[in-house]
């Protein structure tokens, strides 16, 4: 590891309240859980933080359950736990599908939903699902709890509305009765970062979200409006291709990503036989 382990402090709270007090006292603490992103940075010597708040042992943040009709998923629920949750599989199968395509078993056993969101990568595979599911991010500090619509959570590349003294504690997903669809396009199925990742919800109020095509995951509102207004999938595909703002990078090109976005939306139409 390029970063010297001896230079790193780890604060180990015994409860969520304890953790919230710690981060209120020292907002420079970086919350960590499964560490599947943090240790990549530490191994490479690129992670700037030196003081960490260990959330991993806090069992109360792992719960997955139904509350007031919504499915509530604790921030520490791992990608494996989400795939194995009957509530997720029956209500939001596209979330289980997204978690199945993150890394391999080793990463899924450690990586958490809260971590995937907090990391803020525009390529995060669960993010388009949370966007079309119109999830709510539950943020808690020592003094208050806030519920932020997922689509307002990111403010820029790896930037979020989370304040330094807040922790993501859970996600709430309202019931989804419409057809749901998810597709990740990468170099290979496992261990690949997405070139494009798309989630779609059908029905009278269609929702389309795409990752890896902009500084944050985006909802394609013009495409959604066109579909709601009766546009064909060919027409909607042309709109989504103009609505995304991909870049050329080491994983793909902007042109390829645009074309794939259009193709995926057509594929959604074909596979769901609308």
């Amino acid at each position: 590891m390029r970063t010297a382990a001896a230079s790193l402090d780890l604060v180990r709270p015994r409860s969520v309240d304890d953790a919230l007090r710690s981060i209120a006292d020292d907002p420079s603490l970086a919350p960590i859980a499964g560490c599947t992103d943090v240790f990549v940075g530490l191994n490479a010597g690129t992670f700037a933080g030196t003081r960490f708040l260990d959330l991993w042992p806090l069992e109360e943040l792992r719960e997955i359950g139904i509350r007031n009709g919504a499915i509530s998923i604790g921030a520490l629920a791992t990608h494996t736990a989400i795939q194995e949750s009957p509530a997720v599989v029956s209500r939001v199968p596209i979330l289980a599908a997204a978690c199945r395509e993150i890394g391999g078993a080793q990463i899924q056993n450690r990586g958490t939903l809260g971590g995937n969101v907090a990391n803020g990568s525009p390529a995060g595979d669960t993010l388009p699902v949370l966007a079309v599911a119109e999830a709510v991010v539950v943020l808690r500090s020592a003094t208050q709890e806030r519920r932020i619509p997922f689509t307002s959570f990111f403010t820029g590349y790896r930037q979020t509305v989370r304040r330094p003294d807040e922790l993501i504690v859970a996600f709430e997903l309202p019931p989804l009765d419409q057809v749901q669809w998810f597709r990740k396009v990468g170099t290979r199925a496992a261990q690949a970062i997405s070139k494009v990742v798309m989630a779609v919800v059908g029905g009278e109020r269609p929702r389309v979200a795409v990752g890896s095509v902009a500084p944050t995951v985006i909802r394609c509102t013009r495409t959604e409006a066109a579909l709601a207004g009766g546009a064909t999938f060919d027409e909607a595909s042309r709109i989504v291709e103009s609505e995304v703002q991909p870049i050329d990078d080491l994983r793909s090109t902007a042109d390829y990503r645009r074309r794939v976005c259009g193709n995926l939306l057509r594929r959604f139409g074909t596979e769901t036989q609308r």
């Binding site: 382990a5 599947t36 990549v40 078993a105 990463i107 056993n109």
Partner: protein
């Protein structure tokens, strides 16, 4: 900190953010767990943490405290998977082999080829082309 590795209690003097990989290889003197990419891509450092495969390069030592860690050394050398890998030529350079075997340990009894492919999706081999590895696991 106290760790339980391969059924043995061990006392280790390491900072809490030390990689489990380094604790195992350096502090516990168990070099069977290999370092490949150091970023969770290759699976060479796979060990079992409370029975679940994880990349030891991405786990802080603090998370192994009070957990049961199993490394390739814990299989003793005559485990059916180890024998099958040898019999079916499932290793060439050998760097990926301990990780492959540790990932395969999480499979259910009588796995299908698809089960094996999914369980080993996080393990990369640059020599064998995987077929011999899958064959060994299916026949172990």
């Amino acid at each position: 900190m106290r760790l339980r590795v391969n059924g043995r209690e061990m006392e280790v003097d390491a900072p809490p953010m030390t990689r489990l990989l380094d604790v195992l290889r350096i502090h516990c003197e168990l070099p069977g767990t290999k370092e490949g990419c150091g970023e969770g891509e290759c699976g060479a450092c796979t060990v079992l943490l409370d029975g679940e495969p994880v990349c030891a390069c991405l786990v802080p030592a603090a998370h192994a405290e009070s957990a049961e860690v199993t490394t390739i050394e814990g299989l003793g050398g005559e485990h059916p998977l180890q024998r099958a890998f040898a019999e079916h030529g499932a290793a060439q350079c050998g760097i990926c082999t301990p990780g492959m075997i540790m990932a395969a340990l999480a499979l259910p009894p009588s796995p299908t080829l698809d089960d094996v492919r999914v369980a080993l999706a996080g393990n990369i081999c640059r020599c064998t082309g995987y077929h011999a590895i899958y064959r060994a696991i299916l026949r172990a």
